[in-house]
């Protein structure tokens, strides 16, 4: 139970930070919400703590409320990220950082496309895909900047692991 508190708090903190008005342009509106999938991915793929699905669901719902989107949208995106990360963890338990990043890129692509499809289905019209793609690309590019300090600060992995390529 206590193992789930810290990851859940980190995720909720991330949601609040993502909802704060940072004055990003319209085209970049997806960057901050999609950066949260990095947090879900990293916290799912570590062994010292457990990120409960219920927390992921609740964080997604909080994101929906704060962004005035349909309830359930970001919850599905976050849960999908967690499911994909968990499926990957069963296949390869000791990846290098490159592989870790590559798998995140694949996860980001799948979640971005799913998000776009879900949004288009919800509105029964084709939604502009560019902000979603841009947000996904930025999330992949910024992955090391978010994932590495997060894992170091939370003590999720010994310090030398990424420096030595896992």
């Amino acid at each position: 139970m206590t193992k789930g508190i810290v990851p859940s708090l980190v995720l909720f903190l991330g949601v609040v930070v993502a909802a704060v008005p940072w004055a990003l342009p319209s085209k970049a509106s997806f960057i901050l919400p999609l950066l949260l999938i990095i947090i879900v991915y990293v916290l799912t793929l570590q062994r010292r703590m457990v990120l409960p699905s219920l927390s992921v669901f609740a964080a997604g719902r909080l994101m929906d409320i704060l962004t005035a989107g349909p309830l359930g949208y970001w919850a599905i995106i976050f849960l999908l990220t967690q499911t994909l990360a968990a499926l990957y963890s069963r296949r390869d338990a000791t990846p290098g950082f490159g592989m870790f990043w590559l798998v995140f890129a694949a996860t980001a692509v799948v979640t971005s496309i799913s998000g776009w499809v879900l949004a288009s289905l919800y509105f029964v019209r084709v939604i502009d895909w560019q902000p979603m793609l841009f947000g996904g690309a930025v999330a992949v590019a910024l992955f090391p900047l978010v994932a590495w300090p997060m894992r170091r600060s939370l003590g999720l992995v010994p310090a030398g692991a990424f420096a030595k390529g896992g």
């Binding site: 008005p21 342009p25 319209s26 062994r47 409320i65 962004t67 359930g72 069963r90 509105f123 896992g166």
Partner: protein, 321 residues
Amino acid sequence: MRSRKSALKPYGRNKAPTGGWLPFTLYFICLILLIFSRLENNQIREMRGFFADLVSPVLQAASQPAIYARRSKEQLVDYLDLFHELDRLKEENQKMKHWQWQAQRFERRLTHMRKLLKAVEEPALKYATGHVIADARGPFARSVLINIGRTLGSREGYAVINGDGFVGHVVHSGKNASRAILVNDLNSRIPVLVGPAAVRAVLVGDNSANPRLEFVPNSAAVYKGDGVSTSGHGGLLPRGLQIGVVVPGANKGFRVQPHATLSELEYVSVLFFDSPVVVAREAPPPGKKKSVSSRDKTQQGKVGQGRKKRHAKARTRSQAR
């Protein structure tokens, strides 16, 4: 001795939840919520408002670093652009002097005309000013959460402006915070007047930076650079709030570039415009009036007085600000 490989393991097996009933149940709940959300269920709306109210103090505190960061950035940009800005302001000042003279002349003429026509004086709009505490991002919404709730006089339907003009309107008013959708939101439809010919049109948001102008008559004289303002048709919004200028869109259409930078809203004001539509929405249906007892009437009066007091209080606060 512990092997180096195991010590460097970033994560272990079977920690993450992939199977079991819980994730599937959560996916199922999400889908149900999406459907209810699509159907615009009232309870979902209420719940959204309740949670927005609940987290508004946290968001207000969390938005402070963002506000300071934005101000610092603006100050840095201003400092770097200081000399250029000075030249621009001098030039603008010259133009403004000319426009001031014109405005004074027109004001005199307008006063004279109004006297001749015995026109009814329009009451000045009251307002409350607050700041944006959360941004909405995603494919669904372009909206902001403002720290002005019902306690300060905000109500659904009220116009939201900033120093540059009209930016949106309140769609949900909680106790301490209100949600306002912006003019470029997918669900925003604002009746507007375009250009000096005051051509009627509807400003339709599509989540892009510049909303579309629709229902423009074929023969209408609409040109690039024409000013766009609220028409007041439908009675929801006051007439004449400046929105932006016409810019060419795709397929010979028109778009409107808002005067306000919608992605960088900081301080906004909620206009207390009690239009007939808003008042009618809150009034009880005519059929029910007959069954109201004298006791109920007294209570309604008290409620009315309470509301008036609240509005007066809110107005005093806004004026104090």
